[in-house]
């Protein structure tokens, strides 16, 4: 052999973890992608339930949160604020729903976007928990956190990655 012979290190490069496999356009939709999309839909469902619960208890929530300020609950602004919150939440949920469907269809960018937001959400919850501000019990906090982490696990898996990038022209063909 004319090439330089280098000693092989005792470990493989960690960059292997970031290595994408070859693209395979004929790949079948893996279980991980289906689970990831289903979990995103579940999160939309949980968000919808949360919004409905918020609307049902709106006056209590307002009174609870803003009890320092003398708020008149009969003020029409209170009702308008509810609609404002519902509209924002609804739009976010619809976007999340669309992302879930796009992930199921095998697009890559919605997968990345969803994982970025899950990462931020998990990190935020973790910091609050670590600082001791937030206790995480078997209620909605743990449920939403578990959903976020399961979404991360499913969508970051190699199978989901390979499926989302099955048509990526930058990857070598299978």
């Amino acid at each position: 052999m004319s090439r330089d012979v280098a000693k092989r290190p005792a470990f493989e490069p960690p960059s292997e973890l970031a290595q994408a496999g070859p693209r395979d356009p004929r790949m079948h939709r893996p279980v991980a992608t289906v689970m990831g999309a289903a979990l995103v839909l579940l999160r939309v469902l949980a968000g919808t339930v949360w919004l409905i619960a918020l609307a049902a208890n709106w006056n209590d929530v307002i009174a609870d949160q803003l009890d320092d300020l003398a708020i008149d609950l009969d003020d029409p602004a209170v009702g308008e604020a509810l609609w404002f919150v519902l509209a924002i939440g609804g739009v976010l949920l619809v976007i999340d729903l669309v992302f879930g469907v796009l992930i199921y269809l095998g697009l890559n960018w919605p997968r990345i976007v969803v994982m970025v937001f899950s990462t931020l959400s998990i990190s935020g919850t973790f910091l609050a928990w670590w600082a001791g501000d937030q206790t995480i019990t078997l209620d909605q906090t743990l449920f939403t956190l578990a959903l976020d982490i399961l979404i991360m696990l499913a969508l970051s898996s190699r199978a989901a990655r390979a499926y989302a990038r099955r048509n990526d022209p930058r990857l070598p063909p299978a």
Binding site: R3, A18, I112, M152, L153, A174
Partner: protein, 336 residues
């Protein structure tokens, strides 16, 4: 010395799957030449790949936290805590440990041939205990003639079916086998024989096509490597904490069974033995089962198998060309 023909389709296919893997490890044979199809050795990482790598590790760490939260919560819920504890076990065994194993073995387990397959988590799996000579069609024809059944692909449906058939002890002759990896690739073909209609017990063997120009340690050239083991029961692995098939420790019995069924079905098949090929290897498989072997590697020569004659009575689909009528032979290339 070993060399890879610069741009043969085979080397493009196998080398392209794992640019840094076997070919490079076995002497840097793909360092140049077929740059049209293989990533250059000096890899560039896109933002996408870096993000994917980050998310892969981040999700693993986050899942450790989730498992911890579930464990601590399970103590504070009385009898309902048992359900939370089961959730903890499921998260630990099926999500956390596989991801951690995947991250650590990617770095710590050397990525070259060592006579062992690897599980999808990167752990060492069943031993390679059989080699074959011949092409795709001859392998499929010989296995069909020897009364072996192609295993179904692992899908949601087939996974559900194997769970139900195990619980109800109903026969599932085409039950899927878990993927094992060699040369950085999932098996190309998996075959099995169910024993007494009980899905918990089965003979099974997985085949990998060797990369073009690849030689066994010692210099012998073979077309296929195979790992055959006997599933004796379904149980909890204390190694991965998952419910899996337990394999019979004496892998030689299964190896000899495969060779015997092949040679009995077709007198054109001959066998030579590389004695003490794997005597130096010993250990456990990915499920923590011990294995014993005399270390011999039989090389089954299928090159004299007449494809049309051998296959047509037993399984017509196996004789059709790759991509043919939806049958056994239609899944080629190793990544169905």
């Amino acid at each position: 010395m070993m060399s890879v023909p610069p741009s043969s389709p085979g080397s493009a296919e196998h080398g392209g799957r794992r640019p840094s893997g076997y070919d490079a490890g076995m002497g840097g044979a793909d360092a140049g030449g077929n740059g049209a199809t293989i990533e250059p050795v000096r890899r560039r990482f896109s933002l996408n790949a870096l993000l994917d790598g980050f998310f892969f590790v981040f999700a693993g760490l986050a899942s450790v936290w989730l498992a911890y939260l579930l464990l601590t919560e399970s103590f504070s819920f009385g009898w309902w805590g048992i359900l939370v504890f089961i959730a903890f076990w499921l998260v630990l065994a099926y999500l956390v440990l596989p991801r951690l194993h995947r991250i650590l073995t990617t770095i710590y387990v050397p990525d070259y041939f060592m006579g062992r397959t690897r599980t999808s988590d990167g752990l060492l799996g069943d031993p390679v205990n059989l080699a074959l000579l011949g092409d795709d069609a001859q392998l499929l024809a010989a296995m069909a003639a020897a009364k072996w059944t192609r295993a179904d692909e692992v899908t949601l449906r087939s996974s559900w079916r194997i769970v139900m058939s195990t619980l109800t002890r109903r026969s599932y002759d085409e039950a899927p086998v878990s993927p094992l990896f060699l040369f950085g690739r999932k098996q190309d073909y998996a075959f099995q024989q169910e024993v007494e209609g009980n899905p918990a017990k089965r003979h099974h063997v997985r085949f990998w096509r060797c990369p073009e120009g690849w030689l066994l340690p010692g210099g012998a050239r073979v077309d296929w490597l195979a790992a055959g083991t006997f599933d004796r029961a379904v149980g909890l692995s204390l190694f991965t904490l998952q419910v899996t098939h337990k394999i019979d420790a004496d892998t030689d019995v299964e190896r000899n069974h495969i060779v015997a069924t092949l040679t009995a079905a077709d007198p054109a098949i001959t066998v030579s033995v590389l004695a003490d090929f794997s005597t130096g290897y010993h250990s456990r498989n990915g499920g923590g089962d011990t294995i014993r072997t005399d270390g011999d590697l039989p090389v089954v020569d299928l090159r004299a198998v007449a494809v049309a004659d051998a296959a047509s009575p037993a399984e017509p689909a196996a004789a059709s060309a790759p991509g043919g009528a939806g049958g056994a032979a239609s899944v080629t290339g190793g990544t169905p």
